[in-house]
């Protein structure tokens, strides 16, 4: 029996849900979408329900609750009646998942993007290693770490000796 309501095919629903999620950004880094960040792990449509899998950047990142709320709000506004958020902890998020456009956007917004760790600079063996961070304002390598803990769990606080500007560094994890 027909209810008279047109239900689009699941594939179209999925594409539309993904498009909606492209508008959801990180509350602390509003120029990055959750897809750019690698926080968005999976999107599934099952009947009337959209299931969205997200992963936290840091164990206690308070932005996760806001992101979950933003996802539900965006999808509900777009007409999806049921949204289910799944938090995935394994595999653990890493800055390696930041997309190349995300790195470019970070630099364009004055935040030095994570600078790889080919030498395992985040490991115990490099307990006192100091990776050289490039100043996002002037490109100088003459920078000093002020603190490895900044305004959010993912950022460290640096200053440039050349242009004298303080800046944030998106630290490797």
């Amino acid at each position: 029996m027909s209810t008279g309501l047109y239900t689009p095919p699941a594939a179209d629903q999925l594409a539309r849900a993904r498009a909606v999620l492209d508008s959801v950004t990180d509350p602390e880094l509003p120029f990055l979408t959750i897809a750019d960040m690698g926080i968005l792990r999976d999107v599934r449509v099952a009947g009337n329900t959209v299931e969205v899998a997200i992963t936290p950047t840091y164990s206690g990142c308070p932005a996760m609750d806001v992101i979950a709320l933003d996802i539900v709000t965006a999808l509900t506004k777009a007409g999806f009646p049921e949204v289910r958020i799944e938090r995935v902890l394994s595999p653990a998020w890493t800055t390696d998942w930041l997309t190349p456009p995300a790195r470019a956007k970070l630099a364009a917004n004055g935040i030095a993007p994570p600078q790889g760790r080919p030498d395992g600079s985040n490991s115990k063996r490099a307990l006192f290693a100091e990776p050289a961070i490039v100043c996002p304002s002037c490109g100088s390598m003459a920078t000093d770490r002020v603190s490895e803990f900044g305004s959010t769990p993912c950022k460290a606080h640096y200053r440039c000796r050349t242009c004298r500007e303080p800046f944030q560094y998106f630290k490797c994890i």
Partner: protein, 250 residues
């Protein structure tokens, strides 16, 4: 087996929660703004780790309790953290001695647990290892700065290391719970982490011009629910809201 798994997760979670709460007690009281932010950031990591571990434990137990009930509605004797973690903040040297001793243990512990057969625990461990590596560097730098600083900072850093030393042995104890978890491939043998811990702490103390205390009698009991008087006082503060207003939510 399931009981051992639950207990093993609670031990890991209680260490993270109690240390996390201790670090929040520095918020607005740290010596500089950068330190205030650093200690609060580390507290956030630790409380986050605890929350994920409690959630995992609750899923295993299936007794209807959630992570908040485990954190806020258990009494001191039900907490299974090592006694080293619950020691009061004292002065900055005491806090940094505690950070060094715990983090030098936590980094290799989490690294080993990334290979746990409990995939959820392995995922939590992968994140916690990287977070604790940052905490370890922070604590190490402070121990060196204070130890190799002025005569007064050296004296106080040495006293802090001397005072905490007898609490470090418990980190490496292996009991029936641990043995069951090692056999099941879920846990790791903490006693095997000692050489790594000893190298890290030894390197930092040497750089800090501090004397390494002799390994004498070591205190024990936290992981069986036997605690110093300090934990009860800490819980009285941490749990006040849920005790006064049961079920209160944001």
């Amino acid at each position: 087996m399931a009981a051992a798994h639950y207990r093993y997760l609670l031990r890991l979670a209680d260490n993270a929660l109690v240390l996390g709460h201790r670090l929040t007690q520095w918020s607005s009281r740290a010596p500089t703004l950068e330190e205030d932010i650093a200690l609060s950031n580390m507290a956030l990591d630790l409380v986050g780790q605890a929350r994920a571990l409690y959630t995992r434990a609750c899923a295993l137990a299936g007794d209807g309790r959630d992570e908040d009930q485990l954190a806020f509605l258990r009494d001191a004797h039900e907490f299974l953290n090592v006694q080293l973690i619950e020691r009061p903040n004292g002065d900055f040297a005491d806090t940094m001695a505690r950070q060094l001793c715990y983090c030098a243990f936590a980094v290799p512990l989490w690294e080993a647990l990334t290979r746990s057969r409990d995939a959820e625990l392995a995922g939590i461990a992968a994140k916690a290892e990287k977070e604790c590596a940052y905490h370890l560097r922070h604590g190490s730098e402070w121990v060196i700065r204070l130890g190799d600083g002025t005569a007064e900072s050296h004296r106080r850093m040495q006293r802090a290391i001397d005072d905490i030393w007898m609490f470090t042995g418990e980190l490496f104890e292996v009991d029936d719970v641990e043995r069951a978890m090692i056999a099941a491939g879920i846990g790791t043998d903490a006693s095997k982490l000692w050489p790594d811990w000893s190298d890290t702490v030894g390197e930092v103390l040497a750089k800090a011009t501090l004397r390494r205390p002799a390994d004498g009698w070591m205190i024990s009991g936290g992981r069986r629910g036997i605690h110093t008087e300090h934990l009860g006082h800490m819980l009285a503060q941490m749990q006040f809201l849920q005790r006064a207003y049961p079920g209160a939510t944001w």
